[in-house]
Symmetry: C2
Subunit: 379 residues, 2 copies
């Protein structure tokens, strides 16, 4: 099999004058070192965590595209007040796309790298919105016989995030979970994991149709934050499950604080658990997303044993160590088409990704909508 000498890779640049630019660049085909492999990328998803980086907080409602094929360029304005937060990346053309899957078409000399040659693998490592990408062989997850690259494209971000939420729960001494934006692709996986593992999960959604998605999945606790009875329903569910850990995808506003208030109110129902400085059991909300970009507001009306903080998969995996990472990955490979199945709204070529109307579709991050980039599609 002979490889082309060059390939196309997507880049995202924030310019000093406040513009987001996305376009394809031509790269030379690399030669893998001992422990590296080159993957011909066949499928790579657009996750919310990718969008944050690729669109650089620009205003996609004002995005426009020019040119066609490999020359298409997307531009979008960035509000001046956002620019200071982007200082560290100005005028750097960043490769984007955190995960993907495809066939290993070149491998370094090491036994492990060689063993992957010709195999369909999923990989994490950045720069996946490209026709090819070179990665460390250790960052590859060989798919089981019969599983396709499209089935394996989302093997890392959502599956490992959902599994790591349950791991975090165990490592930090909690016994049940609260999750917001709970009808998302990730939230559905989390429901399947919790049901399989016997972990109680309180699902928070905003809309009736999201309630229905979770009801169809067999979820036991579904709380709608748009209802007048939200706080009472939440306290009841937290009291029943004993959840003292929440993962919040929205990040902004009062939701994290409301969850802590509900945990405290639930604790106060148990005689003896309450002291004048609040309940003694630590109550934690991790913000792992920023669907709501407004400030986070905390009332602090929940005693002294509480925490709010950012949560990021790579940081968790680095802390948890190799043994945990290997265990979680092997579960993903085994349950790829069941627990961790993803479905996609549409498949896009690399050029489609740069179409302004298409950008607005994936930037909307609607529940149940998810896009798959197929870099081998004609551009």
């Amino acid at each position: 099999m002979s490889l082309p000498s060059n390939y196309l890779q997507m880049r995202s640049t924030v310019t000093a004058d406040g513009e987001l630019k996305m376009n394809l660049v031509e790269k030379e085909m690399p030669t893998p070192k001992d422990n590296q492999v080159v993957i011909r990328i066949e499928a790579t998803p657009i996750n919310p965590s990718d969008i944050a980086v690729m669109l650089g907080l620009s205003d996609s409602s004002k995005a426009s595209s020019t040119g066609d094929g490999a020359d298409r360029v997307l531009t979008a304005p960035i509000a001046p007040q956002i620019m200071p937060a982007l200082k560290a990346r100005i005028d750097q053309a960043l490769p984007i796309g955190n995960e993907g899957a495809g066939v290993v078409v070149a491998a370094g000399a090491s036994d492990y790298a060689q063993s992957l040659m010709g195999k369909t693998v999923a990989a994490m490592g950045g720069g996946m919105y490209a026709q090819y990408q070179i990665v460390d062989a250790m960052n590859c997850l060989p798919l089981l016989e019969g599983n396709t690259a499209k089935e394996g494209a989302s093997s890392f971000v959502n599956p490992l995030t959902a599994l790591s939420m349950v791991e975090t729960m165990r490592m930090e001494g909690h016994t049940a979970l609260v999750h917001t934006a709970a009808a998302s692709n990730l939230g559905q996986m989390l429901n399947r994991i919790c049901q399989a593992d016997g972990v109680e999960l309180v699902n928070i959604v905003r809309k009736d149709e999201q309630e229905q998605i979770l009801r169809d999945l067999g979820a036991k606790y579904i709380i709608n934050s748009s209802k007048d009875t939200f706080m009472k329903d939440l306290v009841d569910a937290i009291h029943e499950t004993g959840a003292t850990l929440a993962f919040d995808a929205t990040g902004g506003g009062h939701l994290a604080s409301n969850i802590l208030s509900a945990m405290e109110a639930a604790a106060a129902r148990t005689p003896g658990a309450y002291s004048i400085y609040g309940s003694v059991k630590h109550k934690q909300v991790y913000l792992y997303g920023g669907l709501d970009t407004s400030q986070t507001t905390l009332s602090r009306g929940y005693g002294m044993a509480w925490g709010v903080g950012g949560w990021l998969l790579p940081n968790f995996l680095a802390k948890a160590g190799m043994e945990v990472a290997v265990r979680l990955r092997s579960r993903v490979a085994k349950e790829l088409t069941t627990t961790f199945a993803s479905s996609y709204t549409d498949e896009l070529s690399l050029t489609d990704m740069l179409d302004a109307d298409t950008v607005r579709r994936y930037d909307a991050k609607k529940t149940g909508e998810k896009f798959l980039v197929c870099p081998q599609m004609p551009i």
Copy 2:
């Protein structure tokens, strides 16, 4: 030595109709069990953490006193919107006062309890605003020969809090500290500890005279949050010290968020430390007080590796374990009149505590002002 059959103890009650009531009640002298001792309380400080409980978030500007001597009663109104947070304590007459010192006048049968008989000890355990109090012998810290009850009255809350901040720093992998309201009695102790232990400390204050207090103590980093250059000064100091942990006494408003922003800006100055998801090193702010009762607002403009949370001494000590607690206490006893010396604005009898004007003085929590209750003073 014969003990009286009854003694006076201060109580604080939040009534269902929104009133704070403080008054003395007569209690029967208890008989200590095996591991208990009875202390004749000679000196007990009014700490901010005591005030929060004793005044129950009432409006002390509208407080009034009636009666005299043992019959004096203090009342103050509580705003209706605060009442839900006080639900768990309604109509309970709570004993108050977290720490104090005095002479052991009765002891249970155990060897350790007997060994304390006649000794001057400091103790933590609640209900210290009283002429006598019964405590577990293990909660007593025998003062060194020659140290008085007044010198030992504040042996626990401030000394152990300051020491535990440095312990927390080490346990959680940080190497330098940021502290707010840094000219307080606690802040001054923290400066002495950090100087002795070679720990870099960034002191945040609001006023020129507070800067002066810390300059006189030999503090190296003193940042004034009222100055226009506050954020720049803070980033510079955090960059120089490498501080990634802060303890904030104010709790409300933007200060915690500003500290995290400064930590992130300092990290971004170090090439390689910055990724698109923010700096990788965990940045933490613990809120251990609530001088600012407004909501805490977080901008989240500091990546994903950050946390904000409540911090309470008893919760920390429970987590750190007995070995740590014993080590910290023994340091307090040894350095009681140097590192951990407290000075007091005024000495109050139990009846003085119930005088409305006096209440307003201690509720003001002015920097450098601290009151000592002497329950053996004539009421």
